[in-house]
């Protein structure tokens, strides 16, 4: 499978601050890739390097088989970008901006534009400065979705949306997926990522800390176990992958690395299980584990 985006060892400094510190990112063609990380982790910086707006200090970046810095304009015809913070020209109407951006990319489908305007309930006759944040994002999103492109680069596109529009957005991305378009979706909304993304990359402090399918990532996290046993258990603390052990009489509560789940359960059965609750890791826990500053 070819890669729509492949980035390795990307470094970008702004003065003395290091925004990207050896970041890796691979997005295969036709996949929806979730791009996650806490605020200031370097998501937007990475996207702007990929768009040739910023020049990387080190590392390599390939976009649709080309060099994002050197071949910026020609590559941009094959992608559409929705920035996280959309600013419009005060004197242009939303409809004008949609048409203009579409034409600058090499044309857009007026039928699709009309459908999208209706679905997102966007009034295209309002002037740029009168739109709310969510509506400005809709303008950029409609412009992107009605262009015929291979790759969609979306930087937190739904941060100003209400739940209804959020659902509409998911529907639209599902459709794009069916058309085999590649999507890079930077987002904070975990349910959105869970619903849409084939694979996910989590970054922190300018580095990729985890990448893979959601199933793979789940595997890397912990399952929490609560059990009531016939005999007071021993030796649990010494087992590999067991954390946060709390034991009181016949009751135990602990978390175990999902990879070590089997061993832990085998050990428990030797004490006679009366009751057992096992909770798989939630996506939130998965992300919180990476977002929080772990003690070194």
């Amino acid at each position: 499978m070819t890669h729509a985006i492949s980035v390795s060892g990307l470094v970008k400094n702004f003065g003395r601050t290091r925004a990207l510190d050896g970041l890796d990112l691979t997005v295969s063609e036709g996949e929806v890739h979730g791009f996650l990380g806490p605020n200031g982790a370097g998501k937007s910086t990475t996207i702007r390097v990929l768009l040739g707006l910023l020049r990387a200090d080190a590392g390599t970046a390939r976009l649709l088989g080309g060099d994002p810095w050197g071949q910026a304009a020609e590559l941009h015809r094959r992608l559409a970008y929705v920035p996280g913070d959309v600013t419009l020209w005060p004197n242009l109407s939303g409809g004008e901006v949609i048409d203009l951006l579409g034409r600058l990319r090499g044309g857009l489908d007026p039928k699709r534009k009309a459908v999208l305007l209706e679905r997102f309930e966007l009034d295209p006759t309002k002037k740029g400065r009168t739109y709310s944040k969510g509506n400005r994002q809709k303008v950029a999103l409609v412009a992107a979705l009605s262009s015929d492109v291979e790759l969609l680069v979306l930087d937190e596109p739904t941060s100003g949306f209400d739940p209804l529009m959020e659902a509409m957005f998911r529907e639209c991305i599902e459709e794009e997926k069916e058309r085999d378009r590649t999507v890079l979706l930077s987002s904070h909304i975990l349910s959105e990522v869970e619903a849409l993304c084939d694979r996910v990359s989590i970054i922190r402090n300018g580095r990729t800390v985890e990448t893979g399918s959601l199933a793979q990532l789940r595997h890397l996290t912990r399952t929490s176990i609560q059990a009531e046993l016939a005999v007071e258990p021993t030796g649990l603390a010494g087992l590999p992958g067991v954390h946060d052990l709390q034991a009181r009489d016949h009751h135990v509560k602990f978390e175990v690395d999902t990879a070590e789940l089997d061993g832990a359960l085998r050990h428990l059965t030797t004490f006679g299980i009366r009751s057992l609750t096992s909770q798989p890791p939630t996506l939130e826990e998965l992300f919180l584990r990476h977002y929080e500053d772990e003690p070194k």
Partner: protein, 528 residues
């Protein structure tokens, strides 16, 4: 007054933000006024010399139109006559920019919303901006007063001189505050305020140049010139200016309560749902963004041209009354040479104004970049070069359009006044176009800064101010020639009919190189 809660904190915030900008404005204003004062005092040391300049100016409508009447022959009065316009421009622009910056500009950028949600009253931002601007004007007024007194001028006249500048500044701070309630974006606020300033200037010009002297009384700048310090000392002029300021502030205060946050009183109309087929590329977009500003400026240049063209012929009245000057003029090439000199002097000023247009049109690039409107465009098939050129073209072609408009209007108006349109139009137009290369050099400086040091684009305004000061005051302050040579306008041929191509070619080369350097720099740097 709960609507004024938080004014104190906002004043401190504004002072913190303006801690470099405002002191520079104040010091430059006071310093310039005082430098002019000492040089004018040296230039006309005797009563006889002052009487002569008063007579010369009084008999010459063209000169009176620009500088106003010499109302008295005391040394202080001649100083005040000479620097009234320059000083007025400095204090009014300082006030307009300061108030706009802390009211509509902050509101448009959403910064006031952040502040407005804290414990800050509805009227507090405007009150804070006005208090800061008023303080700056009072400080400038006191510095001017103290400086003039220090140069041996009478104390009461010096204080009236200083305070009349200060009061004029406060009046225009109030103009900007009212404008900030009408328009939704800061550019329009600047536009309205500067338009009021321009109208004030034109009204006093018409009043002073012609027989309808009452017209000058319609203009706050006219009032400033009628304060007559070191003569009648009309203190009530200061009261009059402040009264107008208070009325305007009252109006602005009332308007704040009548509008929503972020909105102006003038509501925007809906636009088309689809773009016209012509809106299909970076140049079409740039045209949409530049066209109204360009048309507005062009009307301004037409008006300026008509105005100066129609009074140029009266510049020769000077010759009739003054045998000394007549002899000099004879040597220079007769009456027509004098008119030519007047025209080139005026066109020099018009070229500076055209440079203001060119710089602001070039810096539109930076405005688009910092407001993150450039990013979505540059993420399409538009190349960086194409995008930058799309705006730069409007700066360069726009500057040419402005000069042609002024030249055409001036040529036709002057031609009509001497009954020879076909003979004069070509000359005047040529003299206007001669200014183009120097104007493009200034645009080139802005472009080079944008490409190489985008954080310091404000330096292009500093450069233009230096060129303006060198041109207006350099000869009088006897600035050394090497320093004069820094300004591109020093190299523009001064007399019509004797235009040497060499300096024009050099200026054009410099302009093109600066622009090319800027474009090359922009292609290599980060956006944002």
């Amino acid at each position: 007054m709960t609507t004024l809660v938080g004014t104190g904190s906002l004043i401190r915030l504004a002072l913190r933000l303006d801690r470099v900008r405002l002191p520079i404005w104040i010091l430059v204003t006071a310093g310039l006024v005082l430098a002019t004062a000492s040089s004018v005092a040296e230039l006309y040391p005797t009563e006889a010399s002052r009487r002569q300049i008063a007579a010369t100016i009084g008999s010459n409508p063209a000169m009176t139109a620009i500088y106003g009447q010499v109302y008295d022959t005391s040394p202080g009065a001649v100083v005040m006559w000479r620097l009234a316009i320059t000083g007025a421009l400095l204090v009014t622009l300082m006030s307009i920019m300061t108030v706009n910056r802390h009211t509509r500009q902050d509101e448009e950028a959403g910064r006031l919303e952040l502040i407005g949600a804290t414990v800050v009253g509805r009227h507090a931002p405007m009150a804070a901006a006005l208090i800061v601007a008023t303080g700056a004007n009072i400080l400038a007024a006191l510095l001017i007063a103290a400086g003039l007194t220090g140069q041996g001028m009478p104390v009461d006249g010096s204080f009236l001189a200083g305070l009349s500048f200060g009061a004029l500044g406060i009046t225009f701070a109030a103009v900007a505050a009212a404008a900030a309630q009408l328009a939704e974006n800061a550019r329009t606020v600047t536009g309205i305020s500067v338009l009021v300033l321009a109208v004030a200037f034109v009204l006093r010009l018409i009043g002073d140049a012609g027989s309808a002297t009452w017209v000058s009384w319609l203009s706050p700048i006219g009032w400033l010139q009628k304060a007559h310090p070191y003569a009648e000392n009309r203190w009530w002029i200061v009261v009059l200016l402040l009264a107008v300021a208070i009325v305007l502030i009252g109006a602005a205060y009332a308007l704040v309560s009548r509008r929503d946050h972020g909105a102006g009183l003038v509501r925007p109309r809906p636009g088309p749902a689809d773009a016209a087929a012509s809106l299909n590329g970076p140049f079409a977009l740039a045209w949409r963004l530049h066209r109204w500003s360009m048309i507005g400026w062009m009307i301004g240049f037409l008006v300026l041209g008509v105005m100066f063209g129609s009074i140029a012929n009266s510049a020769t009245d000077l010759v009739k009354d003054n045998p000394q000057v007549a002899r000099i003029v004879e040597q220079m090439g007769g009456k027509s040479a004098l008119i030519d000199a007047f025209m080139t002097a005026i066109l020099g000023i018009i070229a500076l104004v055209a440079s203001v247009y060119a710089v602001q049109a070039t810096l539109r690039l930076r405005a688009e970049e910092t407001s993150v409107r450039a990013e979505p465009v540059l993420a399409t098939g538009v190349s960086r070069l194409g995008w930058a050129l799309s705006h730069l073209v409007f700066a360069a072609v726009g500057a040419a359009v402005m000069l042609v408009a002024a030249g055409l209007a001036m040529g036709v108006a002057y031609g009509i006044s001497v009954g020879d349109v076909s003979g004069q139009l070509g000359n005047v137009l040529e003299a206007a176009l001669v200014q183009l290369p120097a104007t493009l050099v200034v645009a080139g400086i802005a472009m080079a800064l944008f490409g190489l040091a985008p954080r310091y684009v404000i330096g292009s305004w500093a450069a233009l101010t230096v060129f303006w000061l060198l041109g207006q005051l350099g000869p009088m302050l006897q600035v050394p020639q090497w320093l004069m040579n820094v300004s591109p306008f020093t190299h523009v041929p001064k007399l019509l009919g004797d235009i040497s191509a060499t300096p024009l070619i050099w200026l054009s080369v410099v302009a093109v190189v600066l622009m090319a350097v800027g474009l090359a720099g922009f292609r290599r740097r980060d956006i944002g």
